[in-house]
């Protein structure tokens, strides 16, 4: 018998963790002499009070959907991919090369090619740690951390020495041709008669991220590979006994994970910046960890958690603009969410379980 009903496991426990994280954040705000209620009001108005705010919230959420899905696919194979940051960095390089080197007649073709390139580059960057884990037993957490730093150094080198336009001091690539620019979400919604602010960074990548979420759900729960990934994650020995090849599954799970992380670049590099910058990932790879934990590694949960973090990100920018609270508050909230939904899960879960068991006993 399960100790508690499914809805409690899926919604109640994360909600309690989130509430604790927010309460502590509120105390931090009080501690620096600011008003937490006012801060919340500024964040909600700024991020959700206008379609302009929504444009930014959804733009950030798109990033987190890609990285959150990436982390959760790896989690299902009980692999902890901290390397999304590096994989997304390499994905950005793939997108930039495709957009700069080939003259595309239409954005849709550029997008298709950029997706392929971002997936290939991101997956390639995940492939080495995956292979080392599967074949040599090197701990994937350490190798993916190392690969984040190596990716940063590699991109720095390529931007400064190869992609930087002549005469520019910025470590950034040239601007992509206008034909590669992706359609804005605002423009797309206006075209079908829904009013939405123009000039926000949200773009068609949001739809691709949502499609990816559905695809990940189908993959994990309705395909043979997904079944193999999940059984490998639950028990490696049992999976091996059932004839599942551990090397193959580790590789497959990490390649999918890296590919998803890499795809984030179509949103940031092609969709927003229109050129490759030194730090276009901006920590979204790490937020993917928080999003995956919060969303209980389920694509639907990941989408919801991404919206939450998108709201936090846009709200944090508004905070820095209108109040004396620096936007680093968001990093604190992010850390607390990871702490309570990830590392202290047992602490939150135990009393809830006990409550349900007692409730049942009384009945």
């Amino acid at each position: 018998m399960d100790k508690m009903p499914r809805w409690a496991d899926v919604f109640l426990v994360p909600l309690i963790s989130l509430t604790i994280a927010f309460l502590i954040s509120g105390m931090v705000i009080l501690g620096i002499g600011q008003n937490p209620v006012e801060a919340m009001r500024v964040m909600v108005t700024g991020a959700l009070g206008s379609s302009y705010g929504w444009g930014y919230t959804l733009y950030y959420a798109t990033n987190f959907m890609f990285t959150g899905l990436a982390v959760s696919v790896a989690f299902h194979a009980s692999l902890f991919n901290i390397g999304c940051e590096g994989q997304a960095t390499l994905g950005g390089l793939g997108v930039a090369l495709v957009c700069l080197l080939i003259p595309w007649p239409h954005w849709s073709m550029a997008l298709a090619a950029a997706m392929v390139a971002s997936i290939a580059f991101g997956a390639a960057w995940a492939a080495i740690p995956a292979w080392l884990q599967a074949k040599r037993g090197s701990h994937i957490v350490i190798t993916t951390i190392m690969f984040n730093f190596i990716a940063a150094a590699l991109l720095n080198y390529i931007l400064v020495n190869v992609l930087r336009p002549v005469g520019s001091m910025d470590p950034a690539s040239a601007r992509f041709p206008a034909t590669t620019n992706l359609p804005e979400l605002g423009a797309m919604l206006n075209a079908v008669g829904i009013p939405f602010a123009k000039g926000t960074p949200a773009n068609i990548s949001l739809l691709i991220a949502l499609v990816c979420a559905v695809a990940v759900w189908v993959l994990l729960w309705h395909t043979k590979v997904g079944y193999e990934i999940r059984s490998f994650g639950k028990s490696q020995k049992a999976a091996q006994y059932a004839g599942i090849n551990p090397v193959r599954i580790t590789m497959v799970a990490m390649l999918i994970s890296g590919g998803l992380a890499g795809m984030m670049a179509i949103n940031t590099v092609q969709g927003e910046a229109n050129r490759l910058l030194l730090n276009s990932v901006e920590g979204a790879g790490f937020i993917g960890i928080a999003v995956a934990l919060m969303g209980r590694n389920h694509p639907f949960g990941v989408v919801l958690a991404s919206l939450l973090f998108g709201f936090l990100y846009q709200g944090g920018a508004e905070l820095a603009l209108w109040t004396k609270i620096p936007r680093e508050l968001i990093t604190v909230i992010q850390g607390l969410v990871i702490l309570f939904t990830g590392a202290l899960d047992y602490m939150v879960r135990k009393p809830v379980e006990a409550m349900f068991v007692r409730f049942r006993g009384a009945r």
Binding site: G335, L344, Y346
Partner: protein, 320 residues
């Protein structure tokens, strides 16, 4: 390269290796007891902030040091509670603490000092003095030995010598004391230690707290060296220390060697930028990435396989 340049390079190697060494030994205690610690970075960062802030406010470097250690130990306690008491995932706990540290330090320094996330400069008694060893000035002009003694060995702050002294101390504690034996046993086979009637939880908490104190020293050293706290000032050193720990295969003397090597690479990258070898140029980014590349190669086991403590990362559940 002439002799004074070599001395200068080695001198900055020692300066840059010291925080790595302190953090690396911190990780060594924790991981030898079976608790993975990727939160070295965060602990150093909170200590750098707390020590700079309190040193500036009190005017005393020692109060700063105490505050830095206290802040770092606080994070260590959270890590202990999450990963020992509540049997949480140690890696996730470490990631969470790194974010917490990164956000809180900027948040607090901005609201306390309003300088865009840094602290005011530490001056005079708020900084560690450079210690001149006996006869350093008198022996300065002796050829070869003089510069080595005066410029390289003498003239560092107290924490450099503390860090160096901690290497034999760690080796002694680890290999020659009862506590060290139990600590290593807890990291390899906690059930055996439990059977012998020794508390696994107590040993693991002790290891995590030692790691907290050592990261506190590392952070205070960084702040004093830079004479202030700046946002993200640890700049990945916690991860380099982790890399050094793997390179050293969790052994103290090798940790010293690994940290000196990585400190040297850092010194080379700062001083030379791109290195022109005539045939080809080694870009500075390669030198910067080299510690990470070395670690991956070592982990891959192509050159001397690194095998971590066997019970690392697993919460211990007492059998009933």
């Amino acid at each position: 390269m002439d002799f004074p340049t070599v001395i200068q390079m080695l001198d900055s190697t020692v300066r840059l290796a010291t925080p790595l060494l302190l953090a690396c030994l911190a990780g060594l205690f924790s991981e030898r007891a079976g608790i993975f610690d990727i939160g070295l970075e965060g602990k150093m960062l909170v200590s750098a902030f707390a020590s700079a802030a309190f040193a500036v406010m009190s005017g005393s470097v020692w109060i700063g040091l105490a505050a830095g250690i206290a802040a770092s130990v606080l994070l260590a306690v959270i890590h202990g509670v999450a990963s020992i008491t509540f049997r949480g995932n140690q890696l996730i706990s470490g990631v969470a603490l790194n974010f917490l540290a990164s956000g809180l330090t900027v948040l607090l320094s901005q609201s306390w000092f309003g300088l865009g996330g840094r602290t005011p400069s530490m001056e005079g008694a708020a900084r560690f003095d450079e210690i001149t060893l006996p006869y350093a000035n008198a022996l300065k002009d002796v050829p070869v030995f003089g510069p080595i003694y005066h410029d390289l060995i003498s003239g560092h702050t107290i924490l450099v010598y503390v860090a160096l002294a901690l290497v034999p101390l760690t080796a002694w504690v680890l290999y020659s004391t009862r506590f060290g034996l139990r600590l290593r046993a807890v990291g390899e086979n906690p059930a055996a230690v439990d059977t012998a009637g020794v508390s696994v939880v107590a040993i693991r908490y002790a290891a995590v707290l030692i790691a907290g104190v050592l990261c506190g020293l590392a952070g205070a050293y960084l702040a004093s060296l830079a004479a202030q706290f700046g946002r993200e000032m640890t700049a990945g050193r916690g991860y380099i220390a982790l890399a050094a720990l793997i390179f050293a295969k969790w052994r103290p003397w090798y940790a010293l060697m690994a940290c000196l090597l990585f400190g040297f690479l850092d010194a080379v990258a700062i001083r030379f930028q791109n290195i022109d070898l005539g045939v080809f140029v080694i870009p500075v980014q390669f030198t910067q990435a080299l510690p990470y590349i070395i670690t991956v190669v070592i982990l891959a086991g192509f050159v001397g396989k690194a095998i971590p403590p066997r019970a690392g990362g697993e919460p211990y559940v007492k059998e009933r």
